[in-house]
Amino acid sequence: MQEYFPPKGLIIELISIKERDRLKEHLESVKDIADAIFLFSPYVGKGFSLSLEEKKDIVGACIEVLQERQPVFIFVTSFTEEDTIKNIREFEKMVGSYKRDIFWVDAPLYYHSNRGLPDMYERFSSMTDYPFILYNDPKIVDGIKGPFNRRNIRTSILKELSFLKNVKGLIFIGGIRRAINYQNAVRERPYFRIYDGDEELYLNFPNRNGIVSMSANIIPHIWKNILDEDGEKRKDLWIHLLELIEILKIGGYELIKSLIFGKSVTCNNSLFEKAKEILRRLNT
């Protein structure tokens, strides 16, 4: 299989909707704006709570709608290395005929320590043809690690990983200092992409590789404008976007879904109204 590189730009963390028609309808509305689609993100996609069968349904619908036009990032991490491999194998069966790029997104510290990570990905290279994008988020590791375990991929380990042929990038969530250290570590690999997984970090210190965006489910065109440097009104957008992101973080999956398909009974009414008001401002 030929070597390919992850795209730059807007990676939409697709909200995982179990209803197939709604999912396809939503995908249709964002697919032409996104540079890649990210499935089962731990935050907006209920990535951990969906069963493998449910996930396979979503992958199937996604492949059907995208029709090989966009690269797809698939979050594969599970509670153990074995389960993660199992996920990869199952998904690989489904995406085998998809002629665009597929990337496995993996949060290795969820089931593994820093020690031996490069060896583990060397082993993975013999199990799958598709490359990996690492996922570094101390928060998702927080609940399952002991007090003395590291919650971030060590910078020196990242440097080693960046030299592996099947590791192509990293979705980064964390502070700006670590972000700079990580950039520094992978400097010798110009095609190794570091995406911001935190919209707030991106809005304050935009990087050149791109953003993994949750709010792009609702306002993909606004994000695209920002990334395309096509923003006369960027200063206003910045303030409203930060406000929206804050509300979406509190409202979570239910709020995002309500903003896309109309308010559901489980969605907090005041958050919904606030978000609608910000969206009005963003769209004018």
Binding site: Q183, P206, W238
Partner: protein, 334 residues
Amino acid sequence: MEIIDRAKEVLRIEAESIAALIKRLGSDFEKAVNIILNAKGRVVITGMGKSGLVGRKIAATLNSTGTPSLFLHPAEAIHGDLGMVTKDDIVIAISNGGRTIEINRIIPILKDMGIKIIAFTGDPTSPLAQMSDVVIDVGVEREACPMGLAPTASTTATLAMGDALAVVLMHCRRFTKEDFKKFHPGGSLGERLASKVKDIMRKGSMIPMVSEENSIQDVLNEINKKNIGATVVVDGDKRLKGIICDGDIRRALIKHNNISSLKARDIMTESPKTVDENQSAGEALSLMEFYGITHLVIIDKNRRVKGIIHLHDILGREEFRINAGILPSKGTNN
């Protein structure tokens, strides 16, 4: 505290953006240097907005380090300024995204003229990069300003790359300190204006000096010998009595049919302008400008002469030579 923390982050990002350029320097940079070294013309720099401001600074740096350069505004270029560019020139086009319409519009025209294009861009796959002969990657991983509203790290990186280019070219041409001074009269002048009068005045036997009783012949000899167009006139205790400069002799010649019988006291200007030795050269220059004179005498509290200073001691003869270089040469009608 948040203010300082934020400022630190910005500086870290900017520092990192420059450090990251080091790894990316390679054969393209060498190619750019060779193209400029072999060019018969000038380096024309173009860029819009903040890139334009950076371009102007790079042009200034190139000029002062021995590489003739000028800035071309891409929008003005379309409206006629392209005429400034000759086929012997090299163009450096600066655009972080490489998609600036105004720049990309003039590049094909420049290429048609046979001009080599060097792109300074953050996107080596951009249209600008594709049209250019050499691409210098000045991309940064991260901007230090929200949403990249104002380019920050990217302009810093571009500026630093411009400096690297200018300095490397300077070394390749073996541009010396003397050359640098020649192109920076303002720099050496600034240094001189800040110095004290006592540091640059003529002292001791360097001071042209005659007594009131000396003949005109003695005065002329002294002026001729000390070569600053004037002599001070003193009494027996070397107390300042007056000054005789070229103008005083000219006026005496007009006034008297025969000046050979005159004494120094007959033609001297009494109470010449003086300056304290601890005043700055800049202040001395202001006095000369105010009174329309070219000499000032330095005396002590008893009015004894300690030194003399001429306009050239402040401004330096070298600057006048450089300026002379741009005056019309002999035989021209200008």
